[in-house]
């Protein structure tokens, strides 16, 4: 009899090599073991099946994720290509050439002087983009030394010329910014519904194009928001946030999805404080903590999908509106859902690759 249990065999380097047919010596070794231990033959064959299914399954998952990532990068590069070809001019007169040459000289002199004055911030030559997949976060340092933490499922584009005259970024998703102070070059984060302009400060922007609300929270310093639809500006003070709800024409709202009375409308709000550790809820994700305070279930589910890279559906419309408060750190999705269902009873079940939530 073999003195290894199933788990030990399934993690055994030599056994895995034998199953995958990777190593002549291991193949010979295990063929002999099987001959010598006929009582174990069935068990070993079963375990080999498990190893092979794991091999195939994990390959499919890896490819699916990588191809999704590649697809996103292709889409992004094509968006950029369209944006740059838009500015290409076609006809050229001699004047135009001369003007361009003159402009170049001015630009070169200008940049040389500029560069001597300010050696620390070299401008970015072409747009840089940073993308995070679901269940992934990235920390980056911008050319001016400002720090950014990019939350899951987000896209940040650093404009060409960042650091030259101003510091412009485009964001779809959520990011925390700690900006190096430089009053001569405003730092601007552009999102689909609002722009956030700052001088030097720490703040969080959450603006997923797919979410119903966008928000900017200020931790220190001061920022100015430009709301695109309302054409007006709002200034935030520390520990304040601005919540922006997507526009909806009143006639179009089906009764069941109309915002409930207790949901705050667009406007200035204080940031939320976690009662357990007095941390600010809006930026707790930067510490790998998942915190919800009176969050409607359907919004919470969107965050879980991004955080864990899973698909979740709420089958019961009544459940979508219930509000939940909880905080998690390093827990698996199953444990999170189990804990949530403990406070407000619901059931959940995995169907294929989707987690279904129902009464």
């Amino acid at each position: 009899m073999l003195h290894l249990n199933d788990e030990e065999l399934l993690a055994d380097e030599s056994f895995i090599n034998y199953c995958l047919g990777h190593n002549e010596a291991d193949i010979r070794k295990w063929n002999k073991i099987i001959l010598d231990n006929p009582a174990d033959a069935i068990r070993l064959d079963e375990l080999r099946t498990i190893v092979l299914l794991t091999s195939q399954g994990i390959q499919n998952i890896a490819l699916k994720n990588q191809i999704a990532e590649l697809g996103r990068r292709i889409d992004l590069s094509e968006e950029e290509a369209v944006a740059t070809t838009g500015s290409v001019y076609k006809s050229r007169s001699i004047w135009w050439t001369l003007m361009t040459a003159a402009a170049c000289i001015v630009l070169i002199t200008g940049t040389t002087i500029f560069y001597r004055l300010q050696k620390s911030t070299a401008p970015v030559a072409s747009p840089l983009s940073y993308i995070t997949k679901f269940a992934e976060k990235k920390s980056l340092v911008l050319p001016d030394g400002s720090k950014v933490i990019l939350n899951a499922g987000s896209k940040l584009i650093v404009d060409a010329g960042f650091g030259k005259l101003d510091r412009k970024l485009q964001l779809d998703g959520e990011a925390f910014f700690d900006v190096v102070h430089d009053s001569s070059k405003p730092f601007v984060v552009q999102t689909s519904r609002m722009d956030v302009k700052v001088l030097g400060t720490a703040f969080n922007v959450k603006a997923y194009e797919t979410d119903e609300t966008s928000e900017a929270s200020l931790i220190r310093g001061s920022v100015e928001l430009s709301l695109k639809n309302e054409h007006r500006k709002v200034t935030l003070s520390p520990n304040e946030k601005y919540l922006l709800r997507a526009d909806k024409t009143p006639g179009n709202i089906p009764a069941e999805v109309a915002p409930a009375a207790h949901e705050p409308a667009s406007g200035l709000l204080p940031v939320r404080i976690n009662k357990e550790d007095t941390a600010i809820v809006e930026v707790s994700w930067t510490q790998d903590k998942l915190v919800f305070v009176d969050e409607p279930f359907e919004e919470l589910v969107k965050q879980l999908e991004r955080w864990y890279g899973v698909k979740i559906e709420i089958a019961d419309p009544l459940l979508k509106k219930i509000q939940l408060t909880a905080s998690f750190r390093n827990e698996g999705i199953d444990d999170v859902l189990a804990a949530l269902s403990f406070s407000k009873p619901f059931n959940f079940e995995r169907k294929n690759d989707v987690i279904m939530i129902y009464k």
């Binding site: 199933d6 788990e7 030990e8 399934l10 993690a11 380097e13 895995i16 090599n17 995958l20 047919g21 990777h22 069935i42 064959d45 079963e46 099946t49 498990i50 190893v51 092979l52 299914l53 794991t54 091999s55 195939q56 399954g57 994990i58 390959q59 499919n60 998952i61 890896a62 490819l63 994720n65 990588q66 191809i67 990532e69 590649l70 990068r73 292709i74 590069s77 290509a81 269940a135 992934e136 890279g309 899973v310 698996g332 999705i333 199953d334 995995r350 294929n352 690759d353």
Partner: protein, 205 residues
């Protein structure tokens, strides 16, 4: 050399017809192989994955200018080699482990082995679903480790290096994942095999 014909066919369809499907087919053909090469050269997991996507993104962007390429396999391989050399120079680390039988390995990763028909058995389809469900819920890094162990067949030491973890951590991760997987599967996996065996004993004893 059946595989070469398939690759050349995909390449033509990709370059001439700008077929995204054939392009992804090429990608599927090369991902494991290039991963294996990069990791064997001592690069980290994320760097390898990024480099592969850089190479393929470049191919997609330049698809209109690739008509003259006669040997797509050599082109992709050389291109990838150059990219990783650049990355290795940048990081200052030189650990050029030479890989033997490089073509043999490619065949290993791309040509369907006899084992692939284990999915044909009705019984294994159900099992495969259970296994996939389990794998789908592994966190990102664990998934990466499982891929390197169970598909690429790298050693625990190699995986530890690629992910900057200790060999013990990698082993424990695989052990825990397999333990959880095993316990989520029915106690006897291949029921039909057992009954076949019982029959065998009844007849011959």
């Amino acid at each position: 050399m059946r595989n070469d014909i398939r690759i050349n066919h995909c390449w033509k369809d990709f370059v001439l017809n700008e077929s995204r499907e054939s392009y992804y087919e090429l990608y599927k053909n090369y991902y494991a192989y290039l991963c294996y090469i990069g990791l064997k050269k001592g690069m980290g997991t994320e760097t390898v994955k990024d480099t592969i996507n850089d190479v393929f993104l470049y191919l997609w962007e330049k698809r209109k200018t690739l008509g003259h390429i006669q040997h797509p396999h050599n082109y992709i391989l050389t291109f990838f080699h150059r990219s990783i050399l650049k990355k290795i120079e940048q990081s200052g680390k030189i650990q050029g482990e030479t890989i033997e039988n490089i073509d043999e390995i490619h065949r290993h990763f791309t040509e369907p082995s006899i084992e692939e028909n284990i999915l044909d058995k009705e019984n294994n389809k159900r099992l495969s679903m259970l296994v996939n469900r389990h794998l789908n819920y592994l966190p990102r890094q664990q998934r990466e480790i499982m891929y390197q162990k169970f598909f690429l067949g790298l050693s625990y030491a190699e995986i530890a290096k690629a992910n900057k973890l200790s060999v013990n951590t990698v082993y424990n991760t695989v052990y825990a994942a397999m333990q959880k997987l095993r316990s989520s599967l029915p106690a006897r996996v291949v029921a039909s095999l057992i009954s076949a065996c019982v029959a065998f004993f009844l007849i011959f004893s």
